[in-house]
């Protein structure tokens, strides 16, 4: 696991500093306020005068100490602050997405399996596959078009198309977790919470639409596999109702691969929410990273990539642990 993270960091480092088109890293560690006399010292401190492999270790040390330089495109704030101030928003979006994905995808998959090759299966298949054939950017805009613009034109109550919370309400509640919905609930401010939820619906659904198809297909495949097993014949031969057979006997077995998937999803969402955040102007880490890439803010990109990789690795670990609970045959 550590190896993977190190590997990622090495690749990222080489890509951002080692290639000919890389920019001078010094630019990231100075602000307009830096005095020219200090520049030499800064160069020494971060090892810019050293050969590349040694620079890597300087960078590693800096990274651990939390010094990631400054992001000039974000008002010159320290990069890690830029990242972590936006991170909770991405987390909020991801959690909401995962909830929607499971809430819609799971039943869809189960229906598909139970009514295999009959009409409900076909319908659920089309929904699922359309889901993951849809480009994230396109779907987001279409949602905005319909639920924001046209609803507005037609005089219907409409959903907001951007940001996480209406600007007016922005400071209405103490920022405990920085996640608007959660903060609203914690502060007991109904208005705020509802507004936050309203802002969350479209982007979360946009993300969920794409992943729920995938989940539904996996659940379907898994359920079909399980329903073919001998112990299901046994359960039916006991005279148990179909309902019990499915929910008590089949589902628990079928969920095992689904759990893997959901865990990886969540991790993937944290990274891939980029496009959706962009489309909905969601103040999360994904949108920030797009700007960083276009501005060549390599430090930010490195931080972003590392954290995302770390999350995926951790997610894998959590999934493995979840197996322990689901499948009694597995022991460590």
């Amino acid at each position: 696991m550590i190896f993977v993270l190190l590997g990622v960091s090495v690749i990222v480092f080489i890509v951002s500093r080692g290639v000919p088109s890389a920019i001078n890293p010094l630019g990231q560690y100075i602000t307009p306020k830096t005095r020219p006399e200090d520049i030499q010292q800064i160069i020494k401190m971060h090892g810019f005068d050293q050969p590349l492999p040694i620079q890597y270790f300087y960078w590693l040390r800096d990274a651990f100490q939390g010094d990631w330089g400054y992001s000039f495109w974000a008002q010159g704030l320290p990069t890690n602050e830029v990242f972590f101030s936006r991170f909770p928003y991405t987390i909020e979006l991801s959690i909401a997405s995962v909830i929607l994905t499971v809430a819609i995808g799971l039943p869809l998959g189960i229906i598909s399996a139970l009514k295999n090759n009959k009409i409900p299966d076909h319908i659920s298949r089309i929904i699922a596959l359309t889901g993951y054939s849809t480009p994230a950017y396109w779907f987001g805009f279409i949602l905005q078009l319909v639920f924001f613009y046209y609803f507005f034109l037609w005089g219907l109550p409409h959903l907001p198309s951007s940001l996480a919370i209406s600007p007016i309400l922005e400071r209405a509640v103490p920022q405990v977790t920085s996640m608007p919905v959660l903060d609203g609930i914690l502060a007991g401010n109904l208005n705020y919470t509802l507004d936050a939820i309203a802002h969350l619906i479209l982007p979360a659904f946009s993300l969920a639409f794409i992943s729920l198809g995938y989940l539904a297909r996996i659940i379907r495949a898994s359920m079909l596999e399980v329903l073919r097993q001998d112990y299901i014949i046994m359960a039916r031969s006991k005279g148990l109702t179909e309902r019990v057979v499915i929910y008590r006997h089949a589902l628990k077995n079928a969920l095992i691969p689904a759990v893997t998937l959901t865990g990886l999803f969540f991790a993937g969402l944290l990274g891939g929410a980029m496009i959706t955040e962009y489309v909905f102007s969601w103040p999360g880490v994904g949108r920030a990273s797009l700007m960083a890439i276009s501005q060549n803010d390599t430090n930010f990109i490195m931080l972003y990539t590392l954290i995302t990789a770390a999350i995926i690795v951790v997610a894998n670990l959590i999934v493995d642990i979840a197996y322990l609970f689901l499948d009694p045959r597995i022991k460590y």
């Binding site: 993977v4 990622v8 359309t130 990274g271 891939g272 890439i293 995926i312």
Partner: protein
Amino acid sequence: MTNKETRTSELQATIADIKYTLHLLRQNPLVVIGSGIAIFFILLALVANLIVNPAVANQFNFSRSYLWNNPIISWGPLARTGGPPAQPLGTDGYGRDLLQMMILAIPLDLRTAFIIVAGAALFGIILGAIASYAGGIIDEAVLRVTDIFFAFPSLVLALVFAALFGRTLDTLTLAVLFVWWPPYVRLIRGQVLAEKEKTYVEALRAMGAGHLRILFRHILPNSIYPLIVQITLDIGGVILTFSALMFLGFSPTPAIPELGNLASDGITHVFDAPWLILFPGLTIVLISLAFNLVGDGLRDVLDPRLRR
């Protein structure tokens, strides 16, 4: 049995297999529809350059941007400006007929998708097959490297690659290819590891067959089903990723007819000229959906346990 006889009977067996697969596929209406759509697009791609003048992509006529003259649907204020001749799907931001641009874009997208998938699959399969068959350190090393690639969200890696190595069509193709091969390694690894332990491999070794021969003439053909499924599904996926790259602004020039590229023009005018995003996107959905339907149907049908 002579070599020739063995090969003919193998061939007959394969043909019978294929016939059976087609029979099963025909029974699934969704797959039939999906393949129909896919074939339609492929044919369209083949004739595209004949029905539409490729030079259209280079015409920039700003006086006719964002026009739509459809009497039935009126999209918004901007649509009504401008003059007569109706383009069926309106014009894009540069005054080009959207429909013509889309038709030009289809062969480009499909071709790029095929190249990427073929390249990624070839690379991934060969690398994975050799590594997992050889075992030991090689296997470990390849596994670790693949893990590292898996830890990157694919879009990020592709974006970073593209940002650094310039924005030409070729680098973008390479960027996506770069990101797309790890799943093949995993897939083929699972298959090879399982097949390696089977007794027929031992028998082949005892008969003196060389490693490469065993790997490529025996193990790979037995593992081919999941690969076929993955390749089909990936064509749909790659189109999405590639067009996403274009959409996000990494396209070299707006003159390139590519569906994501076309859609990106429409961002600023989503509400005024929604057709610009709507139609290219819809086309991507259709193409991707077609391949996904076929791939999904194939997955159901090629599952060895379901075949009788």
